[in-house]
Amino acid sequence: MSQQEKKIDDQDYLLAKLNDSSLKAGIKDAFPIILGYLPIGLAYGMLAVNKGLTPLQTTAMSLFVFAGSSQLVAIEMIAAGAAVAAIVAMTFLVNLRHLLLSASLSLHLRNLPFYYYPFLGFLVTDESFAVSMSKLESQKNKQRYFVGLGFTAYLGWVFSSAAGAFLTEFINFGSGGALDFVLPAMFVVLLVMQISSSSEIIVAVFSGLLSLFFALVIDGSWNIILATVLAAFLGVYISGNS
């Protein structure tokens, strides 16, 4: 192959990468997630600065930890003077549900080189998981879709918490108002898109009730993981009997 031909070949390859429809679809699907992250990120950023973290520390936590509820809990604990070990343990518990999400995603993101998984895994959140589970089936390049989706959402989270942290001195955002409803509304539609059988409806209703029950009787975020595990077992049980 001549030098000229090789150059054209490289260009085609690059163009193909840039025009990759899976990556683009992922980026596009991240926008509702970012809209939902915006009020939470702003709230987290403002809260963290009010509790004594610097704006830079606040942003760094979003950059490295990337876990909304854990970060909010950690801020409360830091402000209350909790031990580092206690904060780390709490964070671990709050994020344990990602074990389930990650395991469930592994059904779709299969047989990739091992070095892909740390990157893909870091981008697993409730939101990126939920959106990708309803869209991955139709994607040609599943891992690229997931990277487009997850990384765009990640940038949205870091940006909105940085905005909250750095702007808190100048602007008082107050409560999120209607924006508080973005994530619940997204969970509603993703749930509807997920459901394709009556056993899934039973599992969903049961899981919601269990989650409420556990939230009322156990402190911490145990309700989500406990309800999910038990409801999924119920699903297996129902499927086995029909």
Binding site: A89, R97, S207
Partner: protein, 95 residues
């Protein structure tokens, strides 16, 4: 915090991604999305400050019903989220 948020996300993908899984495990995992979404959703519209919040003042709960309808009819994230925001906003003005 970095480590304990990173490991639960990465390990299952890395370990299970290249393995054949038993049928029952696959079946169990297939129920996780519906279960986890519902487990996240229910407290977000039915709980406030640690107790059940059943009231006409609970804007999120009232807005849930028309939002569910839009979700069911359109199966589209954008329409549902924008519709939900509009319902929520109108309800905030009424109540």
């Amino acid at each position: 915090m970095v480590i304990v948020t990173f490991l639960p996300r990465v390990l299952p993908l890395s370990i299970l991604g290249n393995k054949e899984l038993p049928e029952r495990v696959v079946l169990w995992l297939s129920f996780i999305p519906a279960a986890v979404l519902s487990a996240l959703l229910a407290p977000s519209i039915l709980l406030k400050n640690g107790s059940i919040y059943l009231s006409l003042d609970n804007t999120a709960l009232i807005a849930f019903f028309p939002t569910l309808f839009v979700a069911y009819r359109t199966k589209n994230i954008f329409y549902t989220v924008s519709g939900g925001l509009i319902f929520y906003f109108i309800l905030m003005l009424i109540f």
